[in-house]
């Protein structure tokens, strides 16, 4: 069995599983946030009316809650959702609730790794499509809707069809001017928006061995954009060190068997990658930066679970150091812990000296919620993960998806710019 099959087999209490088996798997961790949480509360209300008991959760210690989409509260409705969420966690005894304005908080997927909320080998589900991110720690990490999350909260298990696994063998270390974001955009461009539909996308090879844990998180985050059920990387010493630094102990490093089966194998020469972007209006609409259309950009957005981890901010700071932005530039660290490190290590000063605005952790404009949404005809270069019509604001706004290096270089010139071409 491969790693995903092994984790699901354990969760289902079976000695083995194969692709297409339908199993009910026990869940080790479940997450919801200020959008899916109130959605789950609504499901609970419906269940109560149907006479189904929602008096207690299966295990409140396995549940954690983030506040990220509409925080700090954008207006009255989102403020009320935060109050609702707080009442819910208090009522059901959920202690791990990361509240904005009270120490560590941030985008749910960022909290999942910054706070070591998920361990290698876990079956982890979250009420958000980019839950796939956390597969980079060697967990089965999968996004679900409100009804399914409500089901998990009450029953501790959920159904899965065991996916087939596409194995992506990445050869060689990424060049200095190239980031994981460039590579995953390239992959999505090749296989398409539904190229990984219902499947596992597993990454391996020397390209992954050389990559930091944060870069692997970027890879797994964007498997959602190819329709994958989960993205995953087999855990190694880097993962152990990363989680140990964040207080984790007793890790169970599940890896695939030597004779593990993969339904397809793709090979990419990661050492030969070029800076790559996705043009409007789809993550699969990719091209290398040097062949990008010559458009006048209005905004640069460096944020989200995909593109505002510490490593992403560090990359942007390398570009911004000693330079000025030519377009509106917003930088939103993805969690308070990252914000703090960026402050301690002088990154915030570099950003402010360059003329950029630094905002609080939030999903913000990535999902068109608030904090810098786009107007009609505005064109943005963004380190986020989606650029569907209207994703970041007006239906006739445009978003180019890019790595933090490309986004920062473009902010400096006002045009889509390969970091190698920056003077």
């Amino acid at each position: 069995m491969n790693i995903t099959e092994k984790i699901l087999a354990r969760g289902a209490g079976k000695s083995s599983v194969s692709p297409d088996d339908v199993v009910f798997a026990k869940v080790d961790k479940v997450m919801m946030h200020d959008v899916s949480g109130p959605g789950v509360i609504k499901v609970f209300d419906k269940l109560k009316k149907q006479g189904i008991s929602v008096d207690k959760l299966w295990d409140p210690t396995k549940v954690w809650v983030a506040e990220d989409h509409f925080v700090p509260s954008a207006e009255k409705v989102s403020a009320e959702n935060i109050v609702k969420l707080s009442k819910f966690t208090k009522q059901y005894g959920i202690e791990k609730h990361f509240k904005y304005g009270m120490g560590q908080y941030g985008i749910c997927h960022t909290i999942s790794h910054e706070e070591a909320m998920v361990m290698p080998g876990d079956v982890y589900v979250g009420g958000d499509s980019h839950t796939n991110t956390t597969g980079a720690l060697g967990a089965f990490a999968c996004g679900l809707g409100h009804t399914d999350i409500a089901y998990v909260l009450l029953n501790g298990q959920i159904w899965f069809k065991v996916p087939e696994t596409y194995y992506f063998k990445l050869n060689g270390k990424l060049p200095e001017h190239v980031m994981a974001k460039d590579l995953i955009l390239k992959i999505i461009g090749e296989i398409g928006n539904d190229g990984g539909s219902y499947q596992t996308m597993q990454f391996g090879g020397s390209g992954i061995d050389e990559m930091s844990v944060e870069s692997r998180l970027t890879m797994c985050n964007m498997t959602t954009e190819a329709g994958a059920k989960n993205g995953i990387v087999e855990p190694d010493q880097k993962v152990v060190d990363y989680l140990t630094q964040r207080g984790a102990t007793n890790m169970n490093l599940v890896k695939g068997d030597d004779d593990a089966e993969y339904s397809k194998i793709f090979e990419f020469e990661s050492s030969e990658m070029e800076p790559t972007i996705a043009k409007p209006f789809s993550p699969e609409n990719t091209c290398v930066v040097r062949e990008a259309p010559s458009v006048e950009l209005d905004k640069c957005y460096i944020g989200s679970c995909t593109g505002a981890k510490y490593e992403d901010l560090e990359a942007a700071a390398r570009i911004f150091k000693g330079r000025k932005v030519k377009i509106r530039t917003e930088i939103l660290p993805a969690a308070i812990s990252i914000y703090q490190r960026a402050m301690e290590n002088g990154l915030l000063k570099i950003f402010l000296d360059a003329g950029a605005t630094v905002g609080p952790p939030t999903c913000g404009a990535c999902c068109g919620a608030h904090m810098g949404v786009l107007a009609k005809d505005e064109i943005c270069i963004s380190t986020t993960n989606r650029n569907f019509p209207g994703r970041m604001g007006h239906i006739e706004s445009q978003t180019y998806l890019a790595s933090p290096l490309v986004a920062a270089a473009s902010a400096v010139t006002g045009k889509i710019t390969d970091p190698r071409d920056l003077k």
Binding site: G39, V77, Y151, S197
Partner: protein, 163 residues
């Protein structure tokens, strides 16, 4: 099940256009319905009728996991979406929450059915009849579990232990 078709002849209709991100804070189902498809078809709310079906191409419902998407369509009156393929979270949200039926169709149905056609769907025979054009197509049968969850009326009414 009988209804009229609203056709979007394109692939990759994502949940950001089915219900734009700014409405994610809303959890009132009737209010969500007033914004359904707003990112693609601002006239949707005024033209949709109770019992209508949507017909579309590949990878319907891709992107965000927001359950708001099947909720907004279902509370607009949509009883089924017919598509060449579905993104996984939209599919399971539709079934587990018992909001609407996600019907996988073949190229013949996609090409043969036009905007406004009246069709009937019979999930017991996996047949789709185009009443307007007097044609018949096959739908892809539901998998065993999906069929059982639909028959039960959603995931919470399905009892896995009784299988």
């Amino acid at each position: 099940m009988k209804g009229n078709i609203i056709k979007y002849a394109r692939d990759n209709i994502d949940t950001d256009v089915i219900i734009p991100g700014t409405y994610l804070k809303i959890h009132d189902y009737a209010e969500l319905a007033t914004h359904a498809m707003e990112g693609l078809d601002p006239d949707f709310h005024s033209k949709v009728k109770e019992g209508d079906f949507i017909l579309s191409g590949k990878n319907f419902g891709c992107g965000s996991s927001r359950e708001h998407a099947p909720i907004a369509l279902s509370h607009s009156g949509i009883k089924a979406v017919l598509a060449l393929s579905f993104a996984r979270i939209f599919y399971r949200n539709s079934v587990d929450g018992a909001f609407l039926l996600p019907i996988e169709i073949g190229q013949d149905a996609y090409d043969g059915i036009s905007e406004g056609d009246e069709i009937s769907i019979d999930v017991s025979t996996n047949e789709i009849k185009n009443i307007t054009k007097n044609q018949t197509y096959k739908m892809k049968p539901f998998s065993e579990l999906i069929g059982k969850i639909i028959a039960a009326g959603g995931l919470f009414k399905y009892k896995p232990d009784q299988d």
